[in-house]
Structure formats: structure tokens, C-alpha cells
């Protein structure tokens, strides 16, 4: 039997992009040679069979999400590509350091902004930027959350530009999702490439649920011996429901909905078959707006009436703290580098993407003149919604955005269209490069933990720069590989010659 070998790297085009797996000359980057060798040793049939069996495993375990725009609410598997994205440990260590620095600064910012406000008094950030943000919560003023921590779980979005620089694109301090995909993808990948996996000494991610539980228990307000931790979900119709359930199961804690909780006698309780049970820590996956109809949106049916009162009295901990969304405002984001210098007196390790603020006349003029080159984003949207990718947009779409910007300049920012780095995926009939980002997850408890690697999201549509799952994105496993080399490395560099261009 002859091997069909269409799916080979010799046809692979690195293109004019930074490729995470290959240098522009087409040789595997450090850490990627063993993967390269393993993949080239497979026939097309084998590679596709691996891919199919991974997809089947994901479908059967119900690792699915729902798309809001799909009225039928049908579940889909999050498209998954079995070629892992490799991150060399040397680079990873720097990223990890940068993330820690950033999250410390952001936490100090949140303490400050709902407290003394020195950063505003010192005019590092203009006051009106904060008070005009939809996610600024006056109700959080003077709250001191347990242990002084606001952003317990963060899912920072990183992207790499054409020159190889890794930028922070978004901080996501509210309810970042996706970590369950990292854990489940990894489980599937360990079955797909077991030997490769152990050869490369890929950094483990499976202890994430333990770290999460440790962090949550650390927040328990009083000296409770066995704090009752719960995960609060909006319910099965939420697109991330699978994850909520998954994390509760992995931590061995109850998964509750708003209707399971009730506030009385100054505490939060859950309804159980043996009566009411007090709750100490809530890992809430419901947005601020919906968490307590008495404090925020009165029409919310998902939340727990009176929860915020109990929280303010320090009788229940919430992770993340209400109010953290202020730092997710894309105008506030533009000031994070300044926060790092202001609070820590350090230079930022990871840079922001250069950002134009449309509320500033000079920036706005520039943005309006260059709509065909820039990416415009609504200051308070996430998930790839409310966005214009200028170079890919029609003149009509650009005109719409122009009007939107002119009508509400505070609500818009713009950034240069980054040539996001690419990784190979298994395409219809060959291996092709697709754009990716990277979302590492950070836990802020007694210490700060960064999940090694994180979620690599990939824009599966050819040429697309939008990686969000709600917009046709998929995912890949991300492998942080150790410094140790084996003989594969040198071997590969002499053999490999995919066609760069």
C-alpha cells in the first residue's frame, strides 16, 4: 500500500506572516522539530483518522457550545485541530512574568478606583474616562473584597504581530471562559500523541481545577473550617454552560443557579433536599448586570436578590468581584501600561496594542481617515461583536462605523490591523496556515498562578482574523515545551524544507 502524502509540510506556505511553527526559511522553530517529525511520519489517512477520532471524542463527551445568533440554540462542538501550537519555555517564562506584572497592576488599579482614586487625582487617567464607562459600578465604591483581591480569574488575550512581538489585546477580568476546552483538548491530545507528549515534557495543565479551588477557598470570609464553595451559572442556555458544569465537577463543588440560592438572615443559602445550607464563596459566571436584581438590573431572573448586600457586609465572597469590568473597557485598557509604571514603577513586560481613542479629537480624525486600515472596536463589547475589521470591510460597513463613531466617540477605539501569527491546521486537502491568538488563564489567590499555555484560538476561515468561537473560530492545544532537546531537533533541521515565500 502506498502512502498518500498530500498533507505534507512540503506544500505548506509560511507566507508573509509570523508562523508559530516555522521560521520564514521553513525550518521548524525551536521546540517544534519533534512535532514536525511526528507529523511527517504520518500518512494522510492516519492524520485524518486522528483528527476524526478527536472530534468524535469531543462530541460524545458533549463538549459543545451554543451560538447566540442561532435561534434554535443548537449545540456545536468547538472546532478543534489536532496540530498543537508550540510555545517554547524560554518565551513562555517571559510571557508569564509579563502577565503577573499586569494582573498585579490591574488589581491595584481596581483597589484604587473604587477607593482613594489616586490615579485620577494624579491625572494619569482622565477622570471622565472612568465615569463614562458603562462598566464602572458606583455601587462598588469603598468595597473591600476579601484579601483585597478583585480579579481572581483572568483570561488575557495575547496576539503576536508580524514582527514577532507578543501584545496584550484584551485583559478579560469579568467571566473569561474557555479553560474547560484547554483541559478537555489536552485530554484528547494526550490520547492522540502520547509518545510525543511525554518526549517533549509538555507542561501540565490538569491541576488547574485544584488551583482554582485553593484560590476560592482562600477567599472564604471568616475562619470557616470547610468553606462551602459553589459555581454560579446562568443555566443551561448559557453558551459556556458546559464549562460551568465541568469546573464544578472537577472541583467537586455544587453547581448552582440563581434560583438555588436565597438570601436570609444576612447570609446566602442554597436549597437542598435536607434544608438550607450556607454558602461562603461563589465563583460566579454571571455578569454583574444580572447577578442581583436588587443591585443591578431589576429585570434579571438569573441572579440572587440581596446578594450584593451580603457581599458588602463581607459575609460571602464573589469571584470575580463585581466592578472589575471597568478594566475591560477598551478605553481604560489603553491606560494599562501607564498603570504598570504608576503602581509598580516598572516598564511593562508585555506591550499593549497601540490604541487610538476616538474621544480624543486628534485620534478620531486619524481613525476616520484610516478606516480601511484599522480595526475599530466598541469599548464595551467582547466576543468579537461590535467590531469592524477595516481592510476586510465593505465601504458601506465602513460608513456605518464612521457614523457610529461620530455619534458616540467615547464608545469606540481603533487599533492597527495586526498581521496575527499563524499556525498550521489540517485544511480540506492540505496543511494551511491560519491566524491564532492565545488566552492564558491567571488565578489570583494566595499567590498568582498562570496556566501554562492556555487556549489557542484559531480563525478557521482562510484569511480571517477573528478567532472567537461565536464567529467561526476553533481551538488548538497549546504546548509549553521544556528546554531539553533530544536528537529529533538537529535531525529535523537538516531535513526540513517546506516552501516559505
Amino acid at each position: 500500500m502506498t502512502k498518500k502524502t498530500v498533507m505534507q509540510f512540503k506544500n505548506y506556505e509560511v507566507g508573509d506572516f509570523f508562523d508559530e511553527m516555522f521560521t520564514p526559511e521553513g525550518t521548524p522553530r525551536p521546540g517544534c522539530a519533534a512535532l514536525y517529525n511526528r507529523l511527517t511520519s504520518l500518512s494522510d489517512g492516519e492524520l485524518l483518522r486522528y483528527q476524526k477520532s478527536a472530534e468524535r471524542a469531543l462530541l460524545h463527551s458533549g463538549i459543545t457550545f451554543q451560538v447566540y445568533s442561532d435561534n434554535r440554540g443548537v449545540e456545536k462542538i468547538f472546532p478543534f485541530d489536532i496540530i498543537p501550537r508550540i510555545i517554547h519555555e524560554r518565551e513562555w517564562n517571559r510571557i508569564e512574568e509579563g502577565l503577573k506584572q499586569r494582573i498585579i497592576a490591574l488589581n491595584l488599579f481596581l483597589q484604587d478606583i473604587y477607593g482613594p482614586k489616586s490615579i485620577l487625582k494624579d491625572k494619569v487617567i482622565p477622570e471622565e474616562v472612568i465615569y463614562s464607562a458603562a462598566t464602572y459600578r458606583p455601587i462598588c465604591e469603598h468595597i473591600k473584597p476579601p484579601r483585597g483581591i478583585w480579579c481572581h480569574v483572568t483570561g488575557t488575550d495575547l496576539v503576536r504581530g508580524g514582527d514577532g512581538t507578543v501584545y496584550v489585546l484584551e485583559d478579560n477580568l469579568r467571566c473569561p471562559s474557555g479553560v474547560s476546552y484547554v483541559l478537555e483538548n489536552r485530554r484528547v491530545m494526550m490520547n492522540t500523541f502520547p509518545k510525543l507528549f511525554s518526549d517533549l515534557r509538555v507542561r501540565a495543565v490538569s491541576d488547574y481545577p485544584s488551583k482554582l479551588l485553593d484560590m476560592l477557598q482562600f477567599l472564604a470570609p471568616e475562619q470557616t473550617l470547610n468553606p462551602e464553595v459553589v459555581v454560579l451559572t446562568p443555566g443551561i442556555y448559557n453558551s459556556a454552560y458546559f464549562e460551568h458544569s465541568f469546573l464544578a465537577r472537577q472541583m467537586g463543588v455544587e453547581l448552582v443557579e440563581g434560583r438555588d440560592l436565597v438570601v436570609f438572615d444576612g447570609s446566602v443559602h442554597m436549597r437542598t433536599t435536607s434544608g438550607f445550607q450556607r454558602v461562603d464563596v461563589i465563583y460566579r459566571r454571571i455578569d454583574d448586570d444580572f447577578i442581583d436584581p436588587k443591585a443591578f438590573r431589576p429585570d434579571s431572573l438569573l441572579g440572587v436578590p440581596g446578594l450584593i448586600d451580603v457581599y458588602k457586609q463581607g459575609r460571602v465572597a464573589l469571584a470575580n468581584a463585581p466592578g472589575t469590568g471597568i478594566a475591560d473597557d477598551k478605553v481604560v485598557y489603553a491606560y494599562v501600561e501607564k498603570m504598570i509604571s504608576y503602581y509598580l514603577d516598572q516598564d511593562p513586560i508585555l506591550p499593549n496594542v497601540p490604541t487610538f481613542l476616538c474621544w480624543q479629537d486628534k485620534d478620531r480624525d486619524h481613525v476616520l481617515e484610516n478606516l480601511d486600515k484599522l480595526v475599530v472596536k466598541a469599548a464595551n463589547e467582547s466576543g468579537g461583536y461590535g467590531m469592524l475589521v477595516g481592510p476586510h470591510a465593505t465601504p458601506a460597513e465602513r460608513e456605518t462605523f464612521k457614523q457610529k463613531i461620530l455619534a458616540a466617540p467615547r464608545n469606540y477605539i481603533a487599533q492597527p490591523t495586526l498581521a496575527l501569527s499563524r499556525v498550521p491546521i489540517i485544511g480540506d486537502d492540505r496543511l494551511e496556515g491560519r491566524h491564532v491568538d492565545l488566552r492564558p488563564y491567571i488565578l489570583y489567590g494566595e499567590s498568582i498562578y498562570v496556566l501554562p499555555g492556555g487556549l489557542t484560538r484559531v480563525a478557521l476561515k482562510k484569511g480571517s482574523l477573528v478567532v472567537n468561537s461565536s464567529q467561526g473560530g476553533g481551538s488548538k492545544d497549546s504546548w509549553v515545551v521544556a528546554e531539553h532537546h533530544n536528537h529529533h531537533e538537529t535531525q529535523a533541521q537538516t531535513q526540513a524544507a517546506p516552501g516559505g515565500s
Partner: protein, 321 residues
């Protein structure tokens, strides 16, 4: 300790899988009767609709019951909440809300079952009638799911809520099937002794998967013994007495109250129902009227279900002053 909502979902997940399995079995058995039926005037499909108690709804949609319309209604009707499709879909929705409580095997199996039923629903009723193993598969699926549940989930509170739901549903279905078939074959008390259609009685026993076990115990087919068996047998797992007895056991395992006493209204009603059954006899049931007996049984069963809901699922705070 179990969240009330979780207990509720566990109870309903099991009930709905049981319901789907029963409907599939009823269709399967009816299909087989019809293959052997020589008398064209007999419509064996109509009783299936009577069993559901939703005859009016059916009539409004389809008029006279035919094989196609009955199978369509009971199998794939998305608007009918007790069709196989709706039951499996809702069972899976319930499972989805308690994935952190049930075993992954349970979830994966139920998820697969749902995908299978959806696929068949897309093919349509005619395609399913042409290749009828679908109903056998669903029957088997119910049993497999119960087996997976029993073997992969700790037999703690959640399991007991599930078992209670499963058995109460089963008691309900066995009693309805008995009622409808009995009425069809022996419309009034005085009809006892008229020549009966043996095939139909056998079908009734098969509808409860009890044909072989009945034969082992009684040999000859008589209406009295069939009532004796389906209502009062203490060993066969689909009889009314068996289902109620085991439900009561589960209920007491949940609360810790010793059997023979009660600490809430659910236990009280269940205990009353069980003792009533346990101290009945088949001749007595028949002489008083089987239909009246089943009617009363059904309303007591509903009262138990209601009491379970009030006691465990619908909890209201009574804040201290």
C-alpha cells in the same frame, strides 16, 4: 445533601428515560400484534393513545388513529411533550443541568441516545416504520441507561431520587396499560368468562416485559392471574406493588426515616399507597372493578408525586426574626 434542583432533575431525567422506553416498548409490541392480526376491524393502535391519556389532543391533530399517525405522534412529535423525542430531549436537558452530579458514562450514553433519536426524527416516521429496529433500540437504550446508572453512580441520595422517579413512572405506565387493555378485552365485570383473545393478553404482558416471567409463575393465561401478576407480584420489577415498594425504600433511604413510620407528607402518602396495595387481592380488585381500582391508584400516585415535589424540590425559607 443534594441541591433541590439537582434532586428534581435527577428524578425527572430518570422518569423521562423510563417514559421513552415504555412508549417504545408499547409501539414495538403493538407492531408485532398487528403482524399477526387477521381481523382487519381491530385497531390495536388506538389503545396506545388511550394509554397516554391524551386522546383529545391526538384526535385534534390526526383524527382516527392509524399506524402512521400514532407512531408519528408518540415517537417524533416535537410539540407533544410525551413523545419519545420530547422525553429523550428533556431527559438530556435535565442531565445537562446535573452533569457534575451524574457519571460521565451516563451523560455520554444519554447524549448518544438523543443524537440517535434526533437522526431518526430527521429521517421521518415512514423511514422508521420501514426499518423498525429503532423501537427495539430505544427499549434497549432505556435498560442500558438504567444499567449504566446503577453501575457508575454511587447509590447515594441522587441515585435514590433517580430510582424513585424511574419506578413511579413505571408503576404509572404498567397500570395504564393494564387498564386500557383490560377494558378493551373485558369491558365490564360481567364479561368475565367470555372468550378472549389470547394474543392480546400476551401482548399486554409483553408490554410490561413480563410475558416469560408470568408463564413461569402461572402457566395458563387468565385475566385474574394477569391482574394478580401485574399488580401484586412482589418479584417482577414492573408490577405496581414492586415499583411502589422499592420507591418507598428509596424515599426512606433519602430521609433516613425508618420504614413503617413517616416524617413528611411524601412518606405518609407513599406508605399509605404501598400498604393499600400490599393488602389487596386480585379477586377483590376485579370484583370492585379494575378500572375503578386503577383510577384510584393513579390519583394516589399523583398525590405521591406532588408530595415529593413539595417536600424536596420546592423549598421556601422561613427566616428567623
Amino acid at each position: 445533601m443534594l441541591l433541590s434542583r439537582v434532586a428534581d432533575s435527577m428524578y425527572w431525567m430518570s422518569r423521562l428515560v423510563e417514559r421513552a422506553e415504555n412508549v417504545a416498548r408499547f409501539i414495538d409490541v403493538t407492531w408485532n400484534i398487528m403482524l399477526e392480526q387477521r381481523d382487519e376491524s381491530i385497531n390495536a393502535w388506538a389503545p396506545l393513545i388511550h394509554v397516554t391519556g391524551d386522546y383529545e389532543l391526538f384526535e385534534k391533530k390526526h383524527g382516527e388513529p392509524t399506524m402512521e399517525s400514532v407512531v408519528e405522534f408518540l415517537t417524533f412529535d416535537r410539540e407533544y411533550p410525551h413523545s419519545i423525542y420530547s422525553c429523550v430531549r428533556q431527559a438530556r436537558e435535565n442531565a445537562r443541568t446535573i452533569r457534575e452530579v451524574i457519571s460521565s458514562e451516563m451523560w455520554e450514553y444519554l447524549n448518544r441516545l438523543y443524537l440517535k433519536v434526533s437522526d431518526h426524527a430527521a429521517l421521518g416516521t415512514q423511514a422508521v416504520l420501514d426499518s423498525h429496529p429503532f423501537f427495539t433500540e430505544v427499549r434497549l437504550a432505556g435498560n442500558l441507561f438504567n444499567g449504566i446508572t446503577d453501575n457508575t453512580l454511587s447509590h447515594g441520595e441522587a441515585w435514590h431520587f433517580g430510582r424513585m422517579g424511574r419506578l413511579l413512572e413505571r408503576a404509572d405506565k404498567t397500570s395504564r396499560m393494564l387498564d386500557v387493555k383490560y377494558f378493551m378485552l373485558l369491558p365490564s365485570v360481567t364479561d368475565i368468562g367470555t372468550p378472549y383473545d389470547e394474543l392480546q393478553w400476551i401482548a399486554l404482558l409483553r408490554s410490561a416485559s413480563g410475558y416469560e416471567m408470568y408463564r413461569k409463575r402461572f402457566g395458563r393465561i387468565t385475566p385474574l392471574n394477569i391482574v394478580n401478576f401485574l399488580v401484586l407480584d412482589t418479584y417482577f420489577p414492573r408490577t405496581l406493588l414492586y415499583c411502589v415498594t422499592k420507591s418507598e425504600e428509596s424515599l426512606h433511604r433519602i430521609t433516613g426515616t425508618p420504614l413503617g413510620s413517616f416524617s413528611n407528607v411524601a412518606e405518609q402518602r407513599m406508605g399509605q399507597l404501598r400498604s393499600e396495595l400490599a393488602f389487596s387481592s386480585a379477586p377483590e380488585i376485579i370484583s370492585r372493578g379494575l378500572h375503578e381500582f386503577v383510577d384510584l391508584f393513579q390519583s394516589r400516585l399523583n398525590a405521591v408525586d406532588e408530595a415529593v415535589y413539595k417536600t424536596f424540590f420546592e423549598l421556601r425559607p422561613t427566616p428567623s426574626a
